[in-house]
């Protein structure tokens, strides 16, 4: 082995085992969120292009149907939930015990459910006043974008429930810890998306 570059490849004296890098799953999840972000961006872009009179098509526009009050409460619930999830992550990272981690996760779950409840009430109100997606291109875009986020939060709530059950039965194992790390990313990601929705749909629409 005079010139190691020319030997191309060799075998180590003590070979590496299977690559069990826990970073793999997190990397994969980041990539998944990037592709999910493309989905949201396209729904945002569609929403922006459908704010025109042509797409509103004589139906109600944002000012006629949107209300800031409910959206503000939804925002409050979701932003607080992302904070409490952060506290849960800290509790897990610093080994503060299962009870503390699960406590914060339960608060997060409750806030997520509050958000979904408020959003459901908002949807019911829209349907009630005739702001249905079948009315116009603009309303289609609205009903495409906002419930898509709601569906994501629903998936997050289901995932969080499963994680809590796992944590309750198995304790804070490596597996649970890794799952919690991914769910945390997902949850904060949905929070960011909601800030986009709140700014573009609600603040932008009512400004």
């Amino acid at each position: 082995m005079s010139d190691i570059a020319q030997t191309g490849f060799s075998f180590d004296a003590t070979p590496t085992m299977h690559n069990d890098d826990p970073g793999k799953a997190i990397s994969g999840f980041w990539l998944f969120m990037m592709s999910d972000l493309i989905i949201f961006s396209l729904f945002f872009a569609t929403y922006a292009t459908m704010l025109t009179p042509m797409s509103i098509a004589g139906g109600p526009g944002p000012k006629d149907i949107l209300e800031l009050r409910s959206a503000a409460f939804e925002t409050g619930a979701l932003l607080t939930s992302t904070f409490t999830f952060g506290l849960a992550s800290l509790a897990i990272a610093h080994g503060r015990g299962r009870a503390q981690a699960m406590g914060w996760l339960l608060v997060t779950l409750a806030l997520g459910l509050v958000f979904l409840g408020l959003e459901g009430r908002e949807f019911a109100r829209l349907l009630d006043i005739g702001a249905v997606p079948q009315r116009s291109g603009y309303l289609s875009a609205l009903w495409g974008l906002v419930p898509l986020h709601g569906l994501h939060v629903t998936a997050g709530v289901i995932w969080l429930t499963i994680l809590l059950v796992q944590m309750g039965t198995q304790g804070v194992t490596g597996r649970v810890r890794a799952g919690a790390a991914r769910l945390a990313l997902f949850w904060h990601f949905l929070d960011l998306i909601w800030i986009g929705i709140f700014s573009v749909v609600y603040l932008g629409g009512l400004a």
């Binding site: 191309g8 490849f9 180590d12 085992m17 098509a57 116009s136 499963i162």
Partner: protein, 700 residues
């Protein structure tokens, strides 16, 4: 409840009229005979496969060794089998269309609706269910071997991706038997594919097939990117990666960013069709221009998703079969990255005529022409690789040479089309059809065939028959030229695409020539089948025992053929680019490890198979409004995935170090006993997969 209501509750909108294979009996006509005939081919094909599996008692091995396997090589092979089946259907559909247009002056023999279904399925199949699975299969097989890995990062997810892709393909096959396919082309532009103009099941088949396979491809992209980032053998930096791995990386990144766009455009069209939304309708503020934009945000990167891995294959083929280091590695890497990036900036050139301003068109026209630059760099790099090499005229090299000449021609017509002023003249004519076939057949299909021929011995342990390979190659090449060059002419004369008949006698002779080309392409397809048959029959003469039949340069050739399921007995430490070539040149191509370790392998899983079956029934239920079936299938898919996520891999296996050592030492012993074959005997039975040392390019 009346029987009518009961029927629609159970079977949705499915009725006897939807059964194509019965049409020939109660409404015989030439058109319906073809329609029913095709349906019967699918049915008989399925019955034959089931019968053969039963006769040869292959069901249990099929499930145990293949369908539930998470081995990246087996998943790759299954992808390619799927691609081959779809290739047969896609080519035959193309041939029927060529025949129809050859007869088009007198109206031909097909109904307009049938012709519309043909070009729609042909395009959808060739792009999404032939080329995509084929390249995904090749990447699956080759990349983990090239980077010295045990498997992809997420083996179970790999199987799930295959399941979703298969479900999409299955829906397209089912559309031949039950109901009809969309007549809206592979792009499915609304409002024509909306529910006002096509209320039937056709566009729904397209939508769910595309959505299912799109999800599969997104997951595949994620899997490959993580694999290439995280699983490279120690010592292999990015600039030590083989060129095919580089192109696979760029393609995978593009899959992650491009596939969501088609998921979005399809989901919006689904909302329009199923729930009466107005994203793309004519009335109430729908905007079909949004569809064109979103679809082509996927569609344009998609053609580079297809062509980049083929470029990777050509790079490997050029350097291996000229016995030279790949010329301009750095520039090839840069060109690949630049193409991947630029491909996201040109989507608008697919609809220059839609009415945006001339300035916008000019910007996208210039961006389009820019792509010619990195592509040109690549062509020069391959030429320089071949230059003064010891080139062997093997089947992959034949495809490579045909590609280099034909692809440049197609690229030049692409530069013409990139000019909006020219595009306005030939938009939606057969000139365009000729152009993209000129890119996709020599660019993608020939590359896939070259890769298939090149890596076949690595997986199956014997080489493909050379004679039939050449016959197939020459049929494909000549057939392509005869079938598509005339379309440039009629396109420039003004013949629109997707048109089944014409009144201009001057077109006819060109369509007759194209018809001859189509016959040659059919012969090419048949030759491929014969080649496979002959190769299997004569496999003892082409046995690849050493694992290195082509004097390969990258790590995959440093393994036995067929590759053991754990790939490498010991994960190698990589010291240079083209590591195996350098090792062989230093006389150290087959080192024996000092020690072996136990190998952990993931266990088999039914998850992927569940996705394939219930993905298909989910799509079928949604297409035919069988809501109970759709809900049930969705529940099964969700519960399976969640269950797997909670329980993890319950059957992981460990291969003991002693067993690995025994197998590896036995292989090393076999190699030492093998006569080394010089390159002059590469295609003779003397080539047992052990390359004799020859002139090698040793410059660093």
């Amino acid at each position: 409840m009346t029987s009518q209501e009961l029927w629609s509750l159970a079977l949705g909108r499915l009725d006897v009229d939807a059964l194509d294979f019965l049409k020939a009996f109660y409404a015989p006509s030439e058109n319906d005979d073809i329609l029913s005939g095709a349906a019967w081919v699918v049915i008989l094909g399925a019955v034959t496969v089931v019968a053969l599996l039963t006769i040869f008692r292959a069901w249990r091995p099929l499930f145990r060794d293949w369908l539930t396997s998470v081995d990246h090589k087996k998943i790759g092979v299954m992808y390619i089998v799927l691609a081959m089946v779809m290739l047969v259907r896609g080519v035959l559909e193309g041939v029927v269309m060529r025949a129809q247009q050859a007869d088009g002056l007198t109206g031909g023999f097909l109904s307009a609706n049938h012709f519309g279904q043909l070009f729609s399925t042909h395009g959808t199949i060739m792009v999404l269910f032939m080329a995509m699975p084929f390249l995904t299969g090749l990447i699956n097989i080759v990349v983990p071997l090239q980077i010295g890995a045990r498997d992809v990062s997420f083996p179970m997810l790999n199987s799930v991706s295959l399941g979703f892709t298969t479900a999409g393909a299955a829906l397209i096959m089912i559309s031949l038997v039950i109901g009809e396919f969309s007549t809206g082309g592979w792009t499915a532009y609304p409002p024509y594919t909306g529910r006002v103009f096509q209320p039937g099941v056709g566009p729904d088949y397209w939508l769910w097939a595309v959505i299912l396979s799109g999800v599969g491809s997104t997951l595949t992209g994620i899997n490959f990117v993580v694999t290439i980032y995280k699983e490279r053998a120690p010592g292999m930096g990015f600039m030590q990666m083989p060129m095919f791995t580089w192109t696979a990386l760029c393609t995978a990144i593009m899959m992650i960013f491009a596939m969501p766009a088609v998921t979005v455009s399809s989901a919006m069209l689904v909302l329009d069709r199923y729930l009466g939304f107005h994203f793309f309708t004519n009335d109430l503020g729908g905007n079909m221009m949004n569809y064109a934009n979103i679809f082509w945000l996927f569609g344009h990167p998609e053609v580079y998703i297809l062509v980049l891995p083929a470029f990777g294959v050509y790079s490997e083929v050029a350097s291996t079969f000229s016995g030279k280091r790949l010329y301009g590695y750095g520039s090839l890497v840069a060109a690949t990255m630049v193409i991947a990036l630029l491909s996201f900036t040109v989507w608008l050139h697919h609809f220059f005529t839609m009415g945006q301003s001339a300035d916008v068109n000019a910007a996208f026209g210039i961006a389009t022409m820019l792509i010619g630059v990195p592509t040109g760099v690549k062509i020069y790099d391959w030429m320089a690789t071949l230059f003064r090499g010891r080139i062997r005229f093997t089947v992959p090299v034949i495809y490579l040479l045909a590609f280099m000449m034909l692809f440049v021609l197609g690229g030049l017509t692409g530069i013409l089309l990139a000019n909006p002023a020219v595009d306005f003249q030939v938009h939606n004519t057969l000139f365009l059809v000729a152009h993209f076939h000129n890119m996709l057949i020599p660019g993608v299909l020939f590359g896939l065939f070259a890769g298939y021929t090149y890596w076949f011995p690595k997986i199956f342990g014997f080489r493909l028959n050379e004679v039939w390979g050449r016959i197939a190659a020459f049929n494909w090449i000549a057939g392509f030229m005869l079938a598509f060059f005339p379309l440039y002419v009629v396109g420039a004369m003004g013949m629109t695409r997707r048109t089944m008949a014409y009144a201009e006698p001057a077109f006819q002779i060109w369509f007759h020539i194209a018809g001859v080309g189509a016959a040659l392409l059919t012969a090419g397809l048949a030759s491929l089948c014969v080649q496979l048959w002959v190769s299997i029959r004569n496999r003892e003469q082409t046995r690849d025992i050493g694992g290195d039949p082509w004097d390969g340069r990258t790590l995959e050739w440093a393994t036995p053929s067929p590759v053991p399921e754990y790939n490498f007995a010991v994960i190698p430490r990589v010291h240079s680019r083209e590591a195996f070539a350098s090792a062989k040149a230093a006389g150290a191509g087959y080192p024996e490890p000092a020690s072996y370790a136990d190998i952990d392998l993931p266990g088999p899983t039914w998850t992927g198979l569940v996705m394939a079956i219930f993905g298909t029934t989910l799509g079928f239920g949604l297409i035919w409004y069988m809501w109970w079936l759709a809900a049930l299938s969705f529940a099964v898919i969700a519960v399976t995935l969640i269950g797997r996520a909670i329980r993890g891999d319950r059957h992981p296996r460990v291969i003991p170090a002693a067993e690995v050592a025994a197998e590896h030492r036995a292989w090393l012993a076999r190699i030492r006993a093998l006569p080394a074959a010089p390159r002059t005997q590469e295609r003779s039975p003397a080539n047992r997969g052990m390359a004799a040392p020859e002139y090698r390019d040793l410059r660093p």
